[in-house]
Amino acid sequence: MAKVVERKPLSLAEKTYVPQILGGLKVTVRNMFRPKVTLQYPEERPIIPDGYRGVPTLVKDPHGREKCVSCQLCEFVCPPKAIRITPGAMPEDQAEHAHVEKAPEEFEINMLRCIYCGMCQEVCPEEAIFLQDIYSIVGYTRDEFVHKKAKLYELGGTLPDEHYKWDKKKQAEEAAAEVQH
């Protein structure tokens, strides 16, 4: 059965709006004494939730080796074409990592193009690029917004994961070589 909602005509007091206005005044004055929700920004910082997509950064593994092997997948997947990688051979002074073969000679992310989509992080087979919790980047010139390799590693730091993918590969190769002997 349909329920009929009775619509009462407004009483005289209601027609003058005065009771409603007084009610509104009560609400606002109560609000005045509630705790404030403002975050005093530069002094207080918001808590960044897990999985936040901040500024993309490059990370090193716990041994201090740069994880990027300049496969350029991120460069190709990047929708706004913000990443530019110059691939290079492993530097001479890192002979112990020679088996990795490649490392980026230069790695640029243009933060004026970046849309923080996180596809580079998703596509990276080496887990070398991460969008971390940095949300505010500033600069005076356009050049400052093109993050170079050094800057990217400075922002990224070290990722404390214990995969050691390339070390294990090397061990496996050596073990295989010994078996063949």
Binding site: G24, L25, T28, V29, N31, M32, P35, K36, T38
Partner: protein, 374 residues
């Protein structure tokens, strides 16, 4: 009149202008602060003076209250570029902000803001003790609309024009209700054995037994609503209505000329609050005696000499500031009326109500007088 006397009057006038202008400036700050508190925010709390803000405890406290914000705002208005858009009518465009400020400041000439006692007789503290007080205030404050209309017209673009038109219609409509709502007040104040004039001092002395808002609540209500409309405050801020008219009549104004409009609006608000305090809140009277309480409760500071006068001024200011707060409080509570609703309320509700109010109180006061005098 001697030269020193004239000079002294200049000094008094200057002091009063400084006080009212700084009150207007600080009510801008109060507006921002109260608005943010009501909305759960903190409000301006960053402006600091180099040396003062370095004082421990007091310095940061004042900074948190935003005490220095009006100074920064004023300096900003002064030093910004003063633009003259190419399409404006230059002379009137420059004239309008002045026309808006001057009436707001002139009205305070007849405002009694306290009292002093000479041989036990109360005298008002007022720049010009003229008998037509309230008439003068109405006459001059209604000139304020010319500033707005002229600003809207000389800016020569559509939104300011709309704002100016709305403002003139609104102010004319509510002036009637406003003037009529206080007739009973002056009927009461000019009863038998009273001075018989229209000065505000007279009204205050008539409120020894009961403040007028207590037994003329309808007059007070109509006057208050009309005051909101006359000062262009929400819920009647038709001339500005930011959401529809960009900024209303001051859309084309910038820098100090805009600042003048802004200050004029708040000066109107301060003066309006002062008038309401005088008419309905008993001016500087401490408490009404209700005919029961001892008479000294009305002016406990009557015998304290100079200090007593200061007390009366401060008490008057406290009441006025409460009303200023009330203006702000209402602004952040109510949404804006639609233009036709404003007109309906003014002509179809407030005006008849004010008329009926006059008739009822006229009869009531006549009967009361007959009973008392016989």
């Amino acid at each position: 009149m001697e030269a020193t006397d004239i000079l002294l009057r200049f000094v008094y006038a200057l002091i009063m202008i400084v006080v009212v202008m700084s009150m207007a400036g600080y009510s801008v700050l109060a507006e921002r602060k109260v608005a943010s508190w009501i909305q759960g925010r903190v409000g301006p709390n960053r402006t600091a003076l180099p040396l003062v803000s370095a004082i421990p405890i007091i310095g940061p406290f004042l900074k948190g209250l935003g005490i220095w914000q009006p100074l920064a705002d004023g300096a900003k208005f002064l030093f910004k570029e003063d633009p003259f858009p190419s399409h404006v009518k230059k002379f009137y465009y420059a004239l309008a902000p002045m026309l808006a400020v001057v009436p707001a400041l002139v009205t305070m000439v007849v405002l009694p803001f306290g009292a002093y006692w000479e041989d036990g007789v109360m005298q008002p503290l007022v720049l010009a003790p003229i008998d037509v007080g309230i008439l003068f205030i109405f006459a001059v404050s209604s000139l304020g609309v010319y500033g707005i209309v002229l600003g809207g017209w000389s800016a020569n673009s559509k939104y300011p024009f709309m704002g100016g038109i709305r403002s003139s219609a609104q102010m004319i409509s509510y002036e009637l209700a406003m003037g009529m709502s206080i007739l009973p007040v002056f009927m009461w104040a000019n009863g038998p054995n009273s001075m018989g004039d229209l000065s505000l001092f007279n009204v205050v002395t008539a409120q020894n037994q009961a403040w007028l808002f207590m037994w003329q609540p309808l007059s007070a209500f109509i006057f208050l609503v009309a005051l909101f409309a006359e000062t262009n405050r929400l819920p009647f801020d038709m001339p500005e209505s930011e959401t529809e008219l960009v900024g209303g009549f001051h859309t084309e104004y910038g820098s100090f000329k805009f600042g003048l409009f802004f200050v004029a609006e708040y000066a109107h608000m301060v003066v309006g609050s002062a008038v309401f305090t005088l008419l309905f809140f008993g001016g500087w009277n401490f408490l009404p005696s209700f005919g029961i309480l001892p008479d000294w409760i009305v002016n406990p500071w009557a015998d304290w000499g100079l200090f007593g006068s200061v007390c009366s001024v401060l008490w008057f200011l406290a009441k006025t500031l409460f009303l200023v707060f009330f203006f702000i409080w209402i602004r952040w509570t109510l949404p804006r009326y639609r233009y036709d609703q404003v007109m309906n309320l003014g002509w179809k509700a407030l005006l008849p109500l004010a008329l009926a109010n006059v008739v009822v109180y006229a009869i009531g006061i006549a009967i009361f007088d007959r009973v008392v005098t016989n």
